[in-house]
Amino acid sequence: MKNFKLSGKFSFIWLLALAVLLITGIRLVRETANDRENAVEAFAQNGAYPKLNNTFMDMMR
């Protein structure tokens, strides 16, 4: 581990980038999980699976 060290400047824009990435990431992951859950529920209730639009794979289906 002694070969590893932190480098580079810790700037305001870096902190802002980290915050935006974290907030967007968490929101989108939760939204995706919700959409998938709702889709499974809808399928159980009326046998129809709604078209999802969260992953890259969804765009190719």
Partner: protein, 199 residues
Amino acid sequence: MYIENKRTGFRLNLLVPVGLLTVFLINGFFPSLVMLLAAAFHEAGHILCALVVGAPIVRFDIELWGGRMYYGGMLGYKQEILVSLGGIIANLLVAPLGLIPIFGMYGKLFYYSCFWYALVNIIPVKSLDGGELFRCVMRLISDPFTAERAENAVNVFSVLFFVVAGLMVSLISGFNSSVVFLVFFSVIVFATEQKKTWC
């Protein structure tokens, strides 16, 4: 900010784990792995071309967009053009492998990922391969002063083009969560990268 291994010259931008984790959580393990494979071929193309022109790699950074190499010694502009083109050529060469029917949807994703890598990297933004290509071509055909002015002007237009194209792709995809994140991700990279260039 980076975490750096001083012995091997390997650096990792600490924003990368956050971005990668989000991509993995939304898209699942295998689709994310396929996209990383396309990135790996891109970097392998650069490394192969660097070896062909005889440039020793002294440092390798993992950034949000992929890797960035620093080589020891001086390279001619024509050699730099070849190394910059290496990634794009590698992506275009391996992309058709994804269309082999046994790979199914994962193959198709690999095919599109390779083209996406090639297309994005040809945009002449300073932090991308296209920017490096444009810089070397300008240095070959004009004086340093004109070349630098042209690079800065093209860079500004390229960043604007990238933002507009990102918004359009988001709209066309029906605001697909992964696409929206990718566009966000890219704009953030450019914001942090451009700070180094403009300030």
